[in-house]
Amino acid sequence: MRLHLVDYLILALYFAFVVGIGWVLKKRISTSADFLTSSRSVPLWITSLAFVATNLGAQELVGMCASGAKYGIMTAHFYWVGAIPAMLFVGIFMMPFYYGSKARSVPEYLKLRFDEKTRAFNAVSFAAMTIFSSGISMYALGLLFQLVLGWSFTASIALAAAIVLAYTFLGGLTSAIYNEVLQFFLIVLGFAPLAWFAVARAGGWEGMAAQLPEAWSHTWKYASSPAQNPMGVEVFGIVAGLGFVLSFGYWCTNYLVVQRAMAADSMAAARLTPIVGAFPKMLLPFVVIMPGIAAMALTKMDLGYALPTKGASYDYDQAILTLMAQFYPQGMLGVGLTALMASFMSGMAGNVTAFNTVWTYDIYQSYIRRGAPDSHYLMMGRVATVGGTLLSIGAAYLATLYNNLMDLLQLVFGFVNAPLFATFLLGMFWKRATANGAFTGLVTGTLAAAATHGLTLAEGKGGWLGVLHEFPSVMAQNFWIAIFAWTACFLVTIAVSLAGRPRPESELEGLVYGVTPIPRQTDVVWYMRPGWLAAVAGALCLVLNLMFW
């Protein structure tokens, strides 16, 4: 693929805008809260788009398109069963506690609700996770640009990291959030024409469906047995593993996304952030998954385009860039690449800004240096921004050296994330849950995840403790690991809590359902109330599920 001057010009123009936004917002920073949490000042429409954009990293974009080619429209389960219900739930039921408790971060909420050790467990594992996920994403981007454009791996990641560092260092979280919205617009407008033209060329939805096996054009019809669908999963695994544990675990407890809602300028805006974000989120499959399905259909149509191969199978990760080369002339090609770069940056900035806050408030201020003046923590926030970026680059290089290590790390993150939702669910909705119960539950849940992986096998992965069961696909194995981890954490937390002494109710006000008044949000017009808007979003999501049944 060859780029021209105009394509580079577009990329440079985008760089100038994102750094410019950081520059303009620089003068708003005078305290550590301005830098790390935006001092709760960002308008709703911005936080809600940033909430969606921060998850729309390059790995997500490339990966969803690849999954579209590999599994068809079933990939939309990650949105229509996964993300949407969880986003509505966090807005309605959990945000009153995150925002109302005045906690500055998710780990800090755990400290208020439980104790220091639970906070430390979450803060340290989360900080490590942000660095590694940003590194893995950087590695994937560098590799793709090297493969398709012939760019140097080092130069691509250094350039992208330098730009992200520049605008997050200048304007902190506000700058990251503002840029995420600009990046979201670019991603959608940069890829929507590709989806449109590619699907049209493949004969529209009907044409694509005719080219591909029938399971590619249905979300639920072939989900009753793993043998019937390309994902190798079944209804219970999808609904309980992906829809409940993994998605609720991610959208409801991951500070990376929750931080965007906590930056909102009012309780109503914080609650509405994920709910309003659910509307664009549920339409994203049309932009990110459809091109993948079209790529597969076009490959079968013998029009001169074929998905590149790797060994005996297709190299699905190349779907999005190779498709761009087939439809975008110079000019729009520059926009497409800029959109890919933008998606990478929104993901990376999300990780870096979540990392610097958790590091500064939950680790540095809590365990290393307490009671310093605020200017010291502002300085530390800036140092952590640089440190987080450098560590991410280090993680990207580590990935080039040890490919399997990255697989392992991603697996470990899965172990840590899956049980967390049980801890939050019990912590927020059951006042009897105790700190020791939460901590023991988390540790047991993590071990249960590891044990499930060790005792089961899927596509050659796992089974290091012996094989009790074999799953038809790694995806099915992941869903079931999540189910076991969540259940173990849930049951152990209850058992240990019942054996211990509960905290007095007066200490739980603002933290737990039942002892906290839930705002009715009568300060906003009726059609913008969380419950009503969530019902509309839920109904639309149901319609999408039925349309592609």
């Binding site: 010009l9 936004i21 303009v24 024409p193 087939q326 439809f327 002339p329 926009v335």
Partner: protein, 61 residues
């Protein structure tokens, strides 16, 4: 709070103008599978979106 619609609108208007110009100047510069003037169509879409953002920002101020 600074209105983000201004810089976003401006970026899309510039990109839209650039793409439309490319589409008008080189209507035959097509990628292998494209059947339409992708630059022109996308350029107009970008221009409209950018103009909408600028109009909303202006109305709000």
């Amino acid at each position: 709070m600074w209105d983000l619609r201004l810089p976003s609108g401006l970026l899309f208007v510039i990109l839209g103008a650039l793409l439309s110009l490319m589409g008008l100047l080189y209507p035959n510069a097509r990628a292998p599978l494209a059947e339409t003037n992708v630059n022109l169509v996308s350029g107009i879409l970008f221009l409209l979106f950018g103009a909408l953002l600028l109009w909303m920002a202006r109305r709000a101020s």
